[in-house]
């Protein structure tokens, strides 16, 4: 007999053996219970998405993201250079916000997801810690987009200013979407699956 809690509603079930093509589901909320194979599959999916997001992360950060033209003064900057410019001009608060939310958090989240789904280098206790961190970071993942929206709004106010998006925007949006998908796909049960099966 194998007891398993539904990870949606928490009701504990007696999970019977199922054959291929079948799954056990919660009697209360119809959530499908993960099994070892399914866990491995979601881990693979997460890994694929995380790798894709990780690849896109670099052009998103390094290529020019906005081009501002004001009275002929043209300035194109990438996320990284823009952040460094903010620091150089003494805008420490905004600089730190952009640096943390747009550069540090996404890459940390991606690295952690990769570790959890693909690399599996950490000890299980650290895995739990990594997973919690991923969850926390994920909540802030929209913050940078919000900031960008504010920036566009402010810049658009000046009628003499022209504002263009650079190629990095595509990479950035794709990266955000992929990393969100990756964290949605991730089934935390997979972290401990191997120990269960061992």
């Amino acid at each position: 007999m194998k007891l398993q809690a539904c990870h949606c509603c928490g009701l504990i079930h007696d999970v019977p053996e199922v054959s291929s093509g079948q799954s056990a589901a919660c009697t209360r909320c119809q959530t499908v219970f993960g099994d070892e194979l399914r866990g491995r599959q979601t881990a693979g999916r997460t890994a694929a998405l995380a790798v894709a997001a990780f690849v896109l992360y670099w052009p998103a950060v390094l290529l020019p993201i906005v081009e501002v033209e004001r009275l002929g003064h043209r300035h194109a900057s990438s996320l990284l250079i823009g952040t460094l410019d903010l620091f150089r001009h003494g805008s420490w608060f905004v600089g730190i916000v952009v640096l943390v939310f747009s550069i540090v958090f996404p890459v940390t989240k991606l690295v952690l997801l990769l570790e959890l789904s693909l690399l599996k280098l950490l000890h299980r206790r650290h895995k739990a810690w990594a997973y919690r961190l991923t969850e926390q970071l994920g909540r802030w993942s929209m913050m940078d987009v919000l900031l960008l929206a504010f920036l566009v709004m402010l810049v658009k106010l000046g009628s003499l200013v022209e504002f263009h998006f650079g190629p990095a925007v595509i990479a950035f949006v794709a990266c955000v979407v992929l990393s969100m998908s990756a964290s949605l796909c991730f089934d935390p049960h997979a972290i401990w699956d191997e120990e269960v099966s061992a």
């Binding site: 504990i12 007696d14 199922v18 291929s20 009697t27 194979l37 002929g72 043209r74 992929l178």
Partner: protein, 595 residues
């Protein structure tokens, strides 16, 4: 999915999970293709943004003028590159600007390309770069010759060339004095900008100014031996007022080209002052010599009977220092007045003589009071025509008899061979009264008539035979006399007519010899239209004439008007009269004389 139903539980406390059919789970995911696509996409994105960059070039400027990274390089108003870096050179002597070119604009970086920093420039001669007052500075470029090899390092120029012509040559002119000439000042020929100053430098000895000038387009023909350059600047004297445009309009270089067939040259000595005038085409150049200067100076007029006919070009000592020599010219229209036995004298200053008869003041033109002048007279029996380079002794004052000489010398034109005379047509007006719509109206028709040696007046038929229904006689006013046009004395042939007046007093009028009339002119040829002696003959080229029976139509009637109706037309070839010019309703034609 089947409807889940509660399963019987084996142990009372836990429900048994329902079994639902799902897709078979696989140990690996098919999602890796997405990763692959993403990798390819990322590589493409990076490649694209790297590829949109052309080569980087480096330009050195003496001044940065506030240029900074992000400013653009423009060619013909289009951005073709972007400044990536502005740094001082290690020796702090110059500013090095690195420019990332766009791939489409790699060709602007080749040897000979000129770069400058566009900035607001407001000077008396021009206003440019106003867009950079509030906007960003930008770099401008004019590419070098199209066959030039690619280059990556350039020396920038201070100001944009005004003439955006890639085809140009540079010449050097040395001046003793710069007169405030600046880089960018134009070189003008006949009032048109044909080049510009690209640099003004002192030489090592600080004794001269070397001005480099870029000549564009056709102006490169100016770079030949004999071409004279000078700095035009305001000059006001009794003789002339010139260069006033440079008072407010900035200095410019002026040029007087050398001879057409002179050898090319690219180094010149500039003149301190403008040459007096260009010697007009066909003018007679003569040399005057005298023991003293007697008020003769460069630029003073040469007069005949007080009328200005030429100018003194230069004054200097003869080679052995024994006398003073002056070079002068007489305009082509008046060159026939100068004969080998002509005499010249100075008219400078005011001649005040107080005698028993009273106070006498003699002066020539206002200019000659201040600056002097040269007058000449030709004896009543004129000698052979003077030739270019003829030397004349020049006296301090005229002898009495010189002033009484009254030679008859026909004015001629340079286009005609020597001694060919010009006819002197007389202005005539035919007046008559006629009835139109029941009213009597006075009508008139004016034109030029030519007195022939057989006593006939030759003229347009519409002046000599204006109408057949005149009320009363048709009066012809000519040479201060009034004649009655009698129809049976008028003989018409084609568009011309002759009138033989019986009571015409032709004293003092020059009649045109009938022997000098050519009747067989059939093909258009180069000719001159002559009216009175005060206005120069109007040359009409054969190429602008079109034969139409006995008349030749003048294709372009520029310079001709109704005032030339009846002008005598003589052939340039032999100086003979071949017809008369008719002008009717805006169209000019030449009526040739037939038998």
């Amino acid at each position: 999915m089947s409807t889940p139903s509660p399963a019987p539980s084996s142990s009372a406390s836990f429900p048994t999970a329902v079994v639902v059919p799902t897709r078979a789970a696989r140990s690996t995911t098919r999602l890796w293709w997405l990763t692959l696509v993403t990798v390819v996409g990322a590589i493409a994105l990076v490649a694209m943004s790297l590829k949109s960059h052309g080569p980087t070039i480096k330009i050195r400027f003496a001044e940065g003028h506030g240029l900074k990274a992000g400013d653009v390089l423009r060619f013909r108003g289009i951005a073709v590159g972007e400044v990536t870096e502005v740094v001082l050179t290690p020796d702090l002597g110059r500013v090095a600007v690195k420019v990332q070119l766009e791939p489409k604009a790699t060709h602007v970086a080749r040897r000979g390309s000129q770069f400058w920093i566009e900035r607001p420039r407001v000077s008396l001669s021009r206003v440019s770069g106003l867009e950079t007052v509030v906007g960003a500075k930008f770099l401008g470029v004019i590419p070098g010759p199209s066959d030039g090899p690619a280059a990556t390092e350039f020396d920038g120029i201070e100001s944009p060339p005004t003439l955006n012509e890639p085809e140009s040559i540079e010449i050097t002119i040395r001046f003793r004095e710069g007169h405030g000439l600046q880089v960018g000042d134009p070189l003008r020929h006949r009032g048109i900008v044909v080049g510009e100053v690209t640099s003004v430098d002192l030489n090592h000895e600080l004794s001269a100014v070397a001005v480099r000038v870029r000549l564009v387009g056709e102006a490169h023909h100016l770079a030949r031996e004999g071409t004279q350059f000078w700095v035009e600047r305001p000059r006001v004297s009794v003789m002339e007022v010139r260069g006033l445009d440079t008072l407010v309009g900035g200095r410019y270089l002026a040029v007087s080209p050398g001879h057409d067939d002179a050898k090319p040259r690219d180094e010149f000595e500039g003149l301190d002052v403008a040459p007096v005038v260009d010697v007009p085409a066909g003018a007679l150049e003569i040399v005057l010599h005298a023991p003293q200067r007697w008020g003769v100076d460069r630029g003073v007029p040469v007069t005949y009977r007080g009328l200005r006919v030429g100018q003194v070009l230069s004054v200097g000592l003869s080679s052995d220092g024994t006398s003073l020599e002056a070079r002068a010219f007489v305009e082509s229209r008046y060159r026939s007045l100068v004969r080998q036995n002509s005499v010249f004298w100075s008219t400078s200053g005011v001649d005040v003589s107080v005698g028993f008869s009273g106070f006498q003041l003699t002066a020539d033109t206002l200019a000659s009071i201040a600056q002097g002048g040269v007058a000449f007279a030709t004896p009543a029996e004129p000698g052979p025509a003077a030739n270019t380079g003829q030397r004349f002794l020049y006296a301090k004052s005229p002898q009495e008899e010189w002033l009484t000489w009254q030679p008859r010398i026909a004015a001629t034109d340079a286009a005609l061979s020597n001694d060919a005379q010009l006819p002197i047509p007389q202005r005539a007006v035919a007046r008559w009264e006629e009835r139109s719509f029941g009213f009597r109206r006075t009508r008139e028709r004016a034109g030029w008539l030519l007195l022939l040696s057989n006593g006939n007046l030759l003229g347009p038929a519409d002046v000599l035979l204006p109408t057949e229904n005149a009320l009363g006689p048709i009066l012809l006013e000519i040479a201060g006399q009034e004649l009655v046009l009698v129809a049976d004395r008028v003989q018409r042939f084609g568009s011309l007519a002759t009138f033989h007046p019986d009571d015409f007093k032709a004293d003092g009028l020059t009649a045109w010899k009938t022997a000098s009339i050519r009747h067989d002119a059939s093909d258009p040829e180069d000719c001159l239209a002559v009216t009175d002696s005060q206005s120069p003959p109007i040359p009409i080229a054969a190429s602008s004439l079109q034969a139409r029976s006995s008349d030749w139509d003048v294709r372009s009637a520029t310079g001709l008007s109704a005032a030339h109706h009846g002008a005598a037309v003589i052939s340039v070839k032999d100086g003979r009269l071949i017809g008369q010019l008719l002008f009717d309703r805006g169209k000019a034609s030449i009526a040739t004389i037939r038998e």
